[in-house]
Subunit: 231 residues, 2 copies
Amino acid sequence: MSIHSFYENAPKHLVAVDCIIFGFEDGKLKLLIMKRKVDPMAGAWSLVGGFVQDNESTDEAAARVLKQTTGMDHIYMDQLHTYGDVNRDTGARVISVTYYALIRIKEHDRILANDHGAHWLSLHQIPPLIFDHSVMLQHALDKLRDKAHTYPVGFELLPEKFTLPQLRNLYEEIYQRELDKRNFRKKILAMNILEKLDEKDKSSSKKGAHLYKFDEAKYEQLMKTGFGFTM
Amino acid sequence: MSIHSFYENAPKHLVAVDCIIFGFEDGKLKLLIMKRKVDPMAGAWSLVGGFVQDNESTDEAAARVLKQTTGMDHIYMDQLHTYGDVNRDTGARVISVTYYALIRIKEHDRILANDHGAHWLSLHQIPPLIFDHSVMLQHALDKLRDKAHTYPVGFELLPEKFTLPQLRNLYEEIYQRELDKRNFRKKILAMNILEKLDEKDKSSSKKGAHLYKFDEAKYEQLMKTGFGFTM
């Protein structure tokens, strides 16, 4: 077969990126979603996404979508999965690559998000999403939880200095269940990735709670090896 | 924007699947690769792959490619990653979704594979592969090793009954390094997923080595929870 017919005879497809953008605010894990503007299903809720253009990689498309909706740049996005069922989008065949990002809600551009019809909703307020977007969200949550078993995750969501109750709150939001205070404290300190600061946060009690920050070097090391089983 | 212009104005792309097919034979972890038939780079080695057609999902395309090359059906394939750089294929822009499979080489159709120009090569014999296929392979290996830290993997590659030396050999091939015999034995038995059989394999010594098989129920449970850190 000639090079011409090899590439020319193959069918082409619309390819989209859909972004699962998590943030953490007021003790709640939140997701950025938007009202879809076009039919089919105009007005329904969807993940933030867009079509991959000719001059950009799929990674670049995801970064562009994030930037257009939040104003945020240079955010690490992890590719999750590609959804390739023939009829997943009822408007046309679209193959969709999902990405997820963890961002600090405070740092995003609220006006831009608003202009795009994008809203932060806490996890238990998420309405049904269009097409397979609810499945995409579930996969992203599973991945986040799965990763939290093996790696310390979610620190991208916290301020630089944080208390142990704040950190526990974040993990409770990721797992969507209460965690035992003492057990959590014991396990997280045993990881040996936190640096106790000589400062206290007195916003929630008179006595105050110690502030911590990450020991980046130890954190990096742990991110490489995980907590898992090693032969 | 109308539904028409929304979908019609978006660019379309060639989408391929590339399959990283691992097998285990004669104590070696092997990869199925083939000689490319078309330009650019006709005659160079590549992963086994093909274009996604209009009437099939990406998963179905991967299963079709596997079936066409090995004759094998109903093999579990795990999607790995989507490679979406604009210039990754020098013939045209092609977005590629990778899948990997672990199969028993004995069970594949050698004549079919031969007809397709496909060959099993052990890992340290793999020549440079076209485009980004060497990167795809490396990612698949990293994933396999990563998974082996947290889950018992690779049992799809072994016969139903196997000895501990065979299992250690498989892990040595996955990690590409020697493992301490006693330590491996201790760790693998501690997982509590093997069932010791009342049979011995006497092919490699007079005394023989005990045969084991998997306890599927315990294995399933472990696959769900992993060995990792749990809050």
